[in-house]
């Protein structure tokens, strides 16, 4: 039976907890980074689309004159 007063087991348990906390942190950061990457990536795509359309509009205006 594992007792808390067992120094080896207690140390191992602490290490596991520490490792779990590190993994939790990494996964949380990954989730936040992915969120911003998707949102900013979409915004960038939208900006490119907007600019391309502005050019197209200018070309049409030139042709119609």
């Amino acid at each position: 039976m594992i007792g808390l007063d067992d120094p080896f087991q207690s140390d191992k348990g602490e290490k596991n907890m520490e490792q779990a906390a590190i993994l939790d942190h990494q996964f949380r950061v990954a989730a936040y980074v992915v969120t911003w990457a998707i949102q900013l990536g979409y915004l960038l795509w939208l900006a490119f689309k907007w600019r391309a359309q502005k050019r197209e509009e200018a070309r049409l205006n030139r042709n119609s004159r």
């Binding site: 939790d24 996964f27 989730a31 992915v34 949102q39 979409y42 907007w50 119609s64």
Partner: protein
């Protein structure tokens, strides 16, 4: 005046995003059971809430298009632009939710994905709207907008099913945090962070929804001008 109002809105939205992040990371405590990984909730839940709102905009736009397509062509085009903008923004936010969810699930449940009712209906919702966008991208002709409107309405029918899935069926996904049974709810120290992030992501969603609508209206005007030029040639 309009430019100032837009700039002010963008500034407020960015401030809300920063405040929401601060609340999520520095103010809300770690969850007693899940630790830091629980903080994904501050991005995961608002993303789905905003996605559902965007799909509702798409539904309204689709219905508007079908209602006005014969009587008021201009209004029909405006409705169609809102339908497309709503669907696209909904897919963006749904993608965020479907990405952050497995990252959370891997740590909380030990698995990336499971085919339970909540997750499956959400994936189906995402697939329906992705097919909506692909159809709009790769088909042309006078029937395209009508077919897209029908598909948009069909897709929106899945939203209440997704929302109710963890009430109707037993799921791996947790029971509702708000509006669930007597055991549902959240510690008051966490509610503020969630609400601020809800407001922030909703404001961001509205901003990109408006932008996407403007881009689509511009696209419609260019298409109409091109058609006019072709007729004159």
């Amino acid at each position: 005046m309009k430019k100032i109002a837009i700039s002010l809105y963008v500034a407020i939205t960015l401030a809300l995003m920063a405040w929401g992040y601060y609340q999520a990371i520095y103010v809300a405590p770690n969850d007693a059971m899940q630790g830091e990984i629980f903080r994904i909730i501050y991005y995961h839940v608002p993303s789905f809430a905003t996605a559902f709102f965007a799909f509702a905009v798409s539904l309204a736009g689709s219905i508007g298009f079908l209602a006005f397509r014969r009587s008021h062509p201009d209004r029909a085009q405006i409705s169609d632009a809102w339908a497309l903008a709503g669907a696209e923004i909904g897919v963006v936010f749904c993608t965020v939710g479907l990405t952050t969810g497995p990252l959370w699930g891997r740590r909380a449940w030990g698995i990336w994905w499971t085919w339970d009712a909540r997750l499956t209906t959400t994936l189906v919702l995402w697939l329906i709207y992705v097919s909506y966008l692909l159809m709009r991208r790769f088909t042309a002709g006078p029937q395209m907008q009508t077919l897209a409107a029908v598909l948009g309405i069909f897709g929106a029918l899945d939203v209440p099913i997704v929302y109710m899935a963890n009430r109707w069926w037993r799921t791996q996904h947790p029971a509702p945090v708000f509006g669930g049974d007597s055991n549902s709810g959240m510690d008051p120290s966490m509610v503020g962070a969630l609400m601020w992030n809800m407001v922030a992501w909703f404001a961001w969603g509205l901003l990109i929804l408006g932008l996407r609508y403007r881009v689509e209206r511009q696209h419609q005007k260019i298409a109409a001008a091109e058609a006019q030029l072709a007729l004159e040639a």
